[in-house]
């Protein structure tokens, strides 16, 4: 699977996550968010940046409980920003792997 974005093609795995997190760019995030029907606001970006930083530090993506606890966002708000499975959705848009909590 691939996603057509402004400047280039990126490889996605069968669940729609970026194969190589290093290929991520903000335009890719915009394109993936559009696919999900989400328009990115500064609040979205705050969470996306946190998720990328978390991935860079820990080598894995944060789970829902880790995002809410460490960033102090209410769970409810996270669901409004990234409806239906926010941890998975934000990970996909942030170009990091699916959170491992889900094994």
């Amino acid at each position: 699977m691939t996603a057509q974005v402004v400047s280039k093609q990126v490889a996605l795995n069968e669940e729609g996550f970026l194969v190589n997190p290093a290929e991520w760019t903000p335009e890719i995030a915009e394109a993936l968010a559009r696919e999900e029907g989400i328009t990115l606001t500064p609040r979205h970006w705050e969470i996306i940046r946190f998720v990328r930083a978390y991935y860079q530090e820990h080598g894995k993506s944060p789970t829902l409980r880790q995002i809410t606890a460490e960033l102090g966002v209410p769970t409810k708000e996270l669901f409004q920003l990234f409806p239906k499975g926010p941890a998975k959705k934000v990970a996909r848009i942030a170009g990091v792997p699916k959170p491992e909590g889900c094994v």
């Binding site: 069968e14 669940e15 894995k60 789970t63 829902l64 409980r65 880790q66 606890a69 460490e70 769970t75 409810k76 996270l78 669901f79 409004q80 409806p83 239906k84 499975g85 998975k88 491992e100 909590g101 889900c102 094994v103």
Partner: protein, 416 residues
């Protein structure tokens, strides 16, 4: 004398204690296991209790009887671990035990109290769990005389022990109500935070269509925020509601509080653990086995077994001053009861998702992978005997600890 302390004498702790008792020289090593409870539960058997297929006596044994006489056993809660001083404190007598090596195998705990509305008046009346013996027994008493309605099975959050158990519960419930002649009076729904029936795509597809065939509805991406026991509805964080007559919850799981008190866990009290060597990431003389780790593989007895198999030889190297080998591959292997005397089987690891094929002998099986069969059901039932008499004893099973791709159909061509 050198001392190894094992915290927790469940599946992982018992297996590793018995193996080490045979391997370590008794004049040099003292092996001590601490557990707060005197009974050992065969937890996979809890699944069968609500349907009257197993009784309590099938799933409990005195813990001491399962441990090698060379293992010193102390029954007491562990209050705290002090890794920088190489000691643990027991509640009993406020005693400190020093160690040279520590093995943490304290498993997970259930936290139904963390979901508002679960533990009120309706608990064990219209809301049940089957992840504890008491919960499974109470549910069994209700199911035997239930007259029908909407049965909702809800997973509060991942990770959970044995992520296929809620699906198995749904399959067995469907079979059970058919046997009781009230199937048409029952609607069965599985509400899960996952985006499908299971965590891995291929297995999710196969299990999803089996559920659909049995008329079991799956509500994916459902994160429960609260339960309203009076109106009998589950409410999600994004304001979806699911009404129920009977709710079977799989409550929030977290590691034991001793991990939090000792400051060595993550937000869910799991101990950060090296994926391939099982050494605690931050300590050189602590290892973590079983459900207590933060590893991205299933929390399952089979995983604990494969971990112990690779851990013991590695530990024997380590105490001789050799480096640890990265031998654990995340191998998991689960039978999935699907009702009507049949079961499916999945086998996977960190890298390879469950695939169709035959297990353990390529082409011969006898157990078909990712497909229902009678022989898998017998495998699952036989497993209880294997658990008490082979696995816990730490005897060798003729199964490789690392996952093998032999016998698996990679492109799925022969699979469906």
């Amino acid at each position: 004398m050198k001392r190894v302390i094992i915290l927790g004498g469940g599946t992982a702790g018992t297996m590793v204690a018995n193996r080490l008792a045979r391997e370590l020289a008794p004049d040099v090593w003292r092996i001590t296991l601490v557990d707060e409870s005197k009974v050992h539960y065969y937890q996979p058997g809890f699944l069968f209790i609500p349907f009257g297929l197993y009784k309590a006596r099938d799933v409990v044994r005195p813990r001491r009887d399962l441990l090698d006489p060379r293992v010193e056993v102390i029954f007491s809660p562990v209050e705290v671990i002090e890794p920088d001083r190489n000691r643990v404190r027991l509640q009993q007598g406020q005693r400190w035990l020093p160690y040279d090596f520590l093995i943490i195998a304290t498993g997970v705990r259930l936290f139904p109290q963390e979901t508002p509305g679960l533990m009120g008046e309706a608990w064990q009346r219209s809301i049940f769990d089957f992840y504890t013996l008491e919960g499974a027994q109470a549910l069994g008493r209700t199911l035997a005389r239930w007259e029908g309605g909407h049965l909702v099975i809800n997973i509060v959050d991942m990770p959970i022990k044995c992520p296929v158990a809620p699906l198995e519960f749904a399959f067995l419930a469907e079979w059970f109500f058919t046997q009781r002649g009230i199937r048409e009076k029952v609607k069965i729904t599985l509400a899960t935070p996952l985006s499908g029936a299971f965590t891995k795509p291929r297995a999710s597809e196969v299990l999803g269509s089996l559920l659909a065939e049995r008329g079991i509805e799956v509500v994916p991406d459902f994160y429960v925020e609260a339960v309203d026991p009076d109106r009998r509805v589950l409410r999600s964080f994004d304001e979806q509601e699911i009404p129920f007559d009977l709710l079977v919850t799989v409550p929030l799981h977290k590691g034991d509080a001793v991990i939090a008190r000792s400051g060595i866990g993550d937000g869910l009290n799991y101990v950060p653990t090296d994926k391939h060597t099982l050494k605690a990431k931050h300590f050189d003389n602590i290892f973590v086995l079983g459900d207590a780790t933060d590893l991205p593989t299933s929390k399952a007895g089979s995983v604990a077994h494969f971990q112990v198999e690779v851990f013991v030889p590695n530990f024997l190297r380590y105490i001789e001053g050799l480096e640890l080998l990265p031998t654990f591959d995340g191998h998991a292997n689960c039978y999935i009861e699907t009702g009507y005397g049949k079961a499916a089987l999945i086998d996977f690891n960190y890298e390879v998702e469950p695939l169709p094929g035959m297990y353990p002998l390529p082409g011969l099986g006898p157990f078909p992978l990712l497909r229902e069969s009678r022989v898998n059901h017998w495998g699952k039932l036989l497993f209880r005997w294997v658990y008490w008499h082979v696995l816990l004893k730490g005897k060798e099973l003729p199964l490789p600890a690392q996952m093998s791709l032999a016998g698996k159909w990679l492109n799925g061509a022969g699979g469906r």
